[in-house]
């Protein structure tokens, strides 16, 4: 018989978990502590929900698989700033080798928050590989990510909040959430040129 997780759709236990809109704000804390890259879809909404259009965040709307690699570029050029990459399980799986590149690049003030709902939320909540046996925290450890923490309950949030701020990374917080939809932030800008210019202006003082 095939893996039951692969066949039963929603019956993976994930609905007993916390909702992303409740937990991500607590877990990230002050978003201004970071330079942020948000992957497309769910985590884009999570990060926009913290502060709409924040100029310390570049929020992707496509280019699935780009988030971690884009974050490495940030961290290489700004080694004294804490970089936060927010990405979903589906987005991370599309370019999973980037975790090896995080380690190879030597970046340290670098944190990944993987919001794992075990679903492709944007395309109809189809289950992902993480509901079929893939453990992304184990994957991150295997790739050599130094500090790794899985969060499934509320009392684990303070430790995760602190880990995202560790300067001796790279850090990987694996947040397991239920399959409820992210809260849609009102009036999000989809203009990537505008976001690029705003990010550079805020950081560098010129566009």
């Amino acid at each position: 018989m095939a893996n039951t997780g692969a066949n039963t759709g929603t019956d993976t236990g994930s609905n007993l978990r916390m909702h992303r809109s409740d937990v991500v704000p607590q877990l990230v804390g002050d978003n201004r502590d970071f330079l942020i890259i948000a992957g497309l879809a769910g985590t884009a909404k999570d990060i926009e929900g913290l502060e709409l259009g924040a100029d310390n965040a570049f929020v992707l709307g496509g280019a699935m698989g780009a988030a971690v690699s884009t974050g490495i570029g940030l961290a290489v050029m700004q080694p004294d700033r804490q970089v936060l990459v927010a990405t979903g399980d589906g987005e991370l799986l599309m370019n999973i080798g980037a975790l090896a590149t995080v380690v190879a690049s030597g970046v340290e003030r670098f944190s990944i928050l993987c919001v794992d709902n075990e679903r492709y939320g944007e395309t109809g909540n189809q289950i992902t590989h993480t509901s079929m046996g893939t453990d992304l925290a184990a994957v991150a450890r295997g790739f050599g990510i130094k500090n790794v923490l899985t969060v499934t309950a509320e009392d684990e949030i303070p430790a995760a909040n602190a880990m995202l701020r560790r300067a001796d990374g790279p850090n990987f917080v694996h947040l397991k959430v239920n399959d409820g939809p992210p809260t849609r932030p009102p009036g999000r800008s989809w203009d990537a040129v505008e976001r690029k210019l705003a990010f550079r202006k805020a950081l560098l003082g010129h566009s």
């Binding site: 330079l35 890259i37 570049f58 992707l60 496509g62 280019a63 699935m64 698989g65 780009a66 988030a67 690699s69 884009t70 974050g71 490495i72 570029g73 940030l74 961290a75 290489v76 050029m77 700004q78 370019n95 080798g97 980037a98 090896a100 590149t101 190879a104 690049s105 030597g106 990537a192 040129v193 976001r195 690029k196 990010f199 550079r200 950081l203 560098l204």
Partner: protein, 171 residues
């Protein structure tokens, strides 16, 4: 075939002088000199990739933080980059890649022909401009043109290093 130890070293020096401080690469014989120079140079970051599209996104991230970078890859890697290049095109990120060509002038491995021939049309279809180099004396002027087009005109530019320059491997 030309002497890579001459033009490869000149090209590396030229890129660093222009301000390039991140070399992202998937290894290839055609980039051997530049990769080694970047690994030996403590003033730059030299990052090996597991797949070429990582380097496209990394270039965008580096630019957001005020840095300049190049992606070094073989022509077969171009196919891996196409969707990621939508990030460059849509957000108008400066992006420069040096592509060591296979599957064109004198190729003897039949597996290389299809992707080698698809490089230019694929890149152009996603909005990445292509400049070809066939002779050693054109390497630096072409690199200079690519950097200017990318960082002044906010374009993605691929410099295609021909097998006329690199030589075709014997099989």
């Amino acid at each position: 075939m030309t002497d890579q130890t001459v033009w490869g070293n000149q090209l590396y020096d030229h890129l660093v002088e222009y301000g390039v401080s991140l070399f992202a690469y998937v290894p290839d014989a055609g980039h051997k000199v530049m990769i080694q120079r970047s690994l030996d140079d403590p003033s730059v970051a030299s990052v090996p990739l597991t797949t070429e599209e990582e380097g496209v996104a990394m270039a965008a991230g580096a630019y957001l933080c005020g840095g300049k970078s190049v992606l070094l890859m073989q022509s077969s890697g171009v196919g891996n980059c196409i969707n990621m290049l939508s990030l460059i095109a849509f957000a108008r990120f400066p992006f420069v890649t040096f592509v060591s060509m296979r599957g064109e002038f004198g190729e003897q491995n039949p597996w290389q022909i299809a992707m080698g021939q698809a490089v230019r049309p694929s890149l152009e279809s996603i909005g990445t401009l292509c400049l070809s180099v066939e002779q050693a004396e054109d390497v630096i002027p072409t690199a200079d043109a690519a950097l200017g087009m990318a960082y002044k005109s906010q374009c993605g530019v691929a410099v295609l290093l021909s097998q006329k320059l690199l030589g075709a491997k014997a099989f």
